[in-house]
């Protein structure tokens, strides 16, 4: 477990075939090799703002390093994982279609487990020293899974609740209060149906609030104690469900669908895995200007978004350049701009030059965004097995209406 960075680098250098794979420690050669390459970045394509940002990163990559970036817009990240899996099954160990994937959690665990990833590379990137490893442990721990440098972080995310202040003057600050509020306002709250990522995250968030010993969540699920440990969660849900939107007979499919319900005035409280989403959506005219955000007093779950490079990527050098570019202070500051994305930076502001720090200080957080100090504790993501088990259980209880 305790393997030094040098050992990992050494292991990777000896294990990799010499000819095709670039070496991130020899950055000059990487840059040289990358020039003229086209990097196919497979990323969820459901949000035009994110697509615009990726296109902007592409412009930067081209003008700074001569690397062309093409976004392959996915309906689900798993599509890209499945693609690499089938390439491996077909024996295509070089020249793969996927150069870079926006990834985390389950998808990362699956690819890591099957040896489908290039690297380690993340901690050899020139911009890595700027990353706030100490203050944001999620940059190296993806759902309790050590990243081992097989993926590089580029944005922090934290669960925040979004509420319409015109209808909800004081938003519920915890699981118990949310339940009371929902019972008092039936039909005005819902959550995406698990196994959707955000829906499952909501269940984990509630679990954090009702479980006796939260530390259990950082261990893999213990089948022996699972039922007893999660009983409060199911009891809470049983009470909530009749008061849900559509009495729990239908659920939105995912985060955007949930956001749309808030925008259409069908619900009064929603939530997102992006602290700046509400402000950005208000600025774009997609949400009423009365929407505000809050977090729970015990903290909300936070995690990081990463990029990874498949083992058989055709343009690994170009992908490395893009991964490093994503850690560039100018790029990070743009991502944090609520008018652009409103994603929180992964960088340690103290490690930046004054000029770069000023870029972040100049950002207007936006009307609905909490200041970093008001975001409270970022709870670590539970072990990935919790997400799978809870989702499965939810489907059994609510997902196949008997």
């Amino acid at each position: 477990m305790k393997m030094s960075v040098a050992a990992i680098v050494f292991a990777s250098c000896t294990a990799l075939p010499a000819l095709a794979q670039p070496d991130p420690t020899d950055w000059a050669t990487v840059l040289q090799e990358a020039r003229g390459q086209t990097v196919y970045w497979h990323a969820w394509g459901g949000d035009p703002r994110i697509n615009d940002f990726i296109a902007w990163v592409g412009d930067q990559a081209l003008s700074r390093h001569g690397v062309t970036v093409t976004q392959v817009k996915l309906a689900a990240t798993a599509d890209a994982v499945a693609r690499v899996v089938s390439e491996k099954q077909a024996g295509q160990d070089q020249g793969g279609a996927v150069d870079l994937i926006w990834i985390n959690g389950e998808n990362f665990a699956a690819m890591k487990d099957k040896g489908l990833l290039f690297g380690p590379f993340a901690e050899q990137l020139p911009n890595w020293p700027l990353v706030d490893v100490a203050g944001k442990p999620a940059t190296r721990m993806d759902f309790t899974e050590p990243t081992l440098g097989l993926e590089s972080p580029w944005a922090m995310a934290q669960l925040v609740f979004e509420y319409d202040s015109a209808r909800v003057p004081t938003p519920p600050p915890g699981a118990g209060q949310l339940l009371d509020w929902a019972k008092a306002n039936p039909g005005r709250f819902t959550y995406p149906r698990p196994p959707d990522y955000l829906g499952a995250t909501f269940l984990k968030q509630v679990l954090y609030g009702v479980i006796d010993d939260p530390d259990l969540l950082l261990q893999p699920v213990d089948p022996a104690t699972y039922d007893r440990v999660t009983a409060p969660l199911w009891a809470w849900l049983a009470e909530l469900t009749p008061a849900l939107w559509r009495q729990g007979r239908a659920y939105p499919a995912n985060e955007p669908a949930l956001g749309q319900l808030l925008a259409d005035g069908e619900i009064d409280i929603a939530f997102a895995f992006n602290t700046g989403r509400a402000s950005a959506a208000i600025a774009a005219g997609e949400l009423p200007a009365t929407i505000r955000t809050n977090v729970w007093t015990g903290g909300t779950i936070g995690n990081a978004s990463f990029v990874a490079i498949p083992y058989n990527a055709a343009h690994a050098a170009g992908a490395l350049v893009v991964a490093n570019l994503l850690l560039d202070p100018q790029v990070q500051a743009r991502a944090q701009d609520p008018d652009v994305l409103g994603f929180q930076t992964v960088l340690n502001l103290a490690a930046l030059t004054d000029e770069d720090r000023a870029r972040f200080d100049a950002l207007d957080l936006g009307i609905a965004t909490l200041a970093p100090d008001d975001l409270g504790t970022a709870l670590p993501e539970p072990h990935a097995s919790w997400m799978a088990r809870i989702s499965q259980d939810w489907i059994r209880r609510y997902g196949v209406a008997q």
């Binding site: 035009p48 392959v72 817009k73 996915l74 089938s86 390439e87 077909a90 559509r246």
Partner: protein, 555 residues
Amino acid sequence: MTADGALRFAPRLTLLLMAVPVIAGLAGTLRPAFEAGSVARLLDWPGLPRAMALSMGTGIASTVLALALTLGLVAALQGGRLFTLILRLLSPLLAVPHAAAALGLAFLLAPSGWIARALSPWATGWTQPPDLLILNDPAGLALTAGLVLKEVPFLLLILIAALPQADAPRRLMLMASLGYGRVAGWMLSVLPAVWPQMRPAVYAVLAYSMTAVDMAIVLGPALPPTLSAQLVLWMTSPDLSIHPVAAAGALVQLGLVLAALALLRGAETGLARLGCRLALTGIRGIRADRWLAPVVGGAGLLVVLLMAGSLAGLALWSFAGPWVFPDAWPQHLELDAWARAAPGLGPAALETLLLAALSTALATGLVLSCLEAEARFGLKPGGGALWLLWLPLIMPQVAFLPGLAELALRTGAEGSTGAVAAAHLVFVLPYVFLSLAAPWRAWDPRLAVAGAALGATPGRIFWRLRLPMLLRPILTAAAVGFAVSVGQYLPTLLIGGGRVTTLTTEAVALSSGGNRRIIGTYAMLQLALPLLAFALALALPAALFRNRTGMRPGA
């Protein structure tokens, strides 16, 4: 002689092009179904019975409703002004891609949708959307409605294309002179003549409705979803161990479709017998006309209004500024969404056009060769051959495309425009064949004899007589093929390796994000391309034969 030889080979080549991808893909995809435990795990899924029932129920209900409405419209109203109006408004809707239609309809009907907004608060008293379960209802009613809306234009087009060969006006006149009501007369005298030509289209609609994925995801229930929607969820799950279960599910889905087709076949026979018995009773069905005409007319108009409203809603969203409940209209209109989408729209539209043109040209050429070979050498496809042609329409796409993508990967073909066009061909060709075979075969054979007796070679008869006389159905079939190609999502995504970007792949990717404004822009363009093809298919023969009364539809 060599041309003759090539023509003789055309049917076999075509079947090969249809069968090999489907069978190879099927083998590749279904192989995991036979892994130990796959079937048992599928059976363990508590949602299975309900998902199967939903697939079957929504598929059959929507097919029956769409068919009844189509037949009713033609039987009760053809020739009248209302019919012409409905037909004119419905035919362009054939080109609407399923996903766009579903999203538009969802916005129209939702408790916070356009209809509710237009009526609130003045008529309804709602200042916030009511908590009503209209979309995604557990019984699949919204999904059924969406499928009916989408299939009526298709069935109507097929029926209208088949009618001229049935000599409907004279049959109807005869029935009327015998004292029969209009609808009863049509059902007893015209329907039996057009049904053989319609049958394949109805089977295709049934198979499609049972396995539609995009519509089921937007409008259908989710707890559980229909079987095909669940299969896609499993197949795209990051949990790779669930993939064999999906394969087993695909096998079940195949069985369901076959069972439903058998059921339909049985119903056909039963109804035919009933019809014969009814005809013998001499019941004239006069009274039925009085209530049927307004009912089907109203239903037809409703279909038109719902579809038009869905599309208008999407179009409006693409220009909308802030637009909150219960405003009936956005606060202001703007071009932001179009400006944001513009850089991506151009290349995607071009790629879409290229793929559709390639696959449609190839499909039309092959189908014409097959039909001409049939006419010249009597190489009529047997039952087995027809089934092969049908396979791509009956197979759930998720059941054979992953295997096919793997095959393309092995041969190094994936990711190229050519490979994607070839994959489109598999879906385009059957539709072109289905649309064209009936009018082609119904062409008066005496025209060919007359040509031959005048000394014309088979080639001359083909190019100078058959082709120009059948130009309208040929172009219509090509336009159908074009629209099918434009709407392809899974084949483009999987065979293209994500590197072939069309309007549809972009629109579906965006639809997962629910941004109605951007979806609106892509849906509008996605609609414009096939619309253009259909407009050409109508305008070209009309312009070429503007002085030929005998070439008008229905002449």
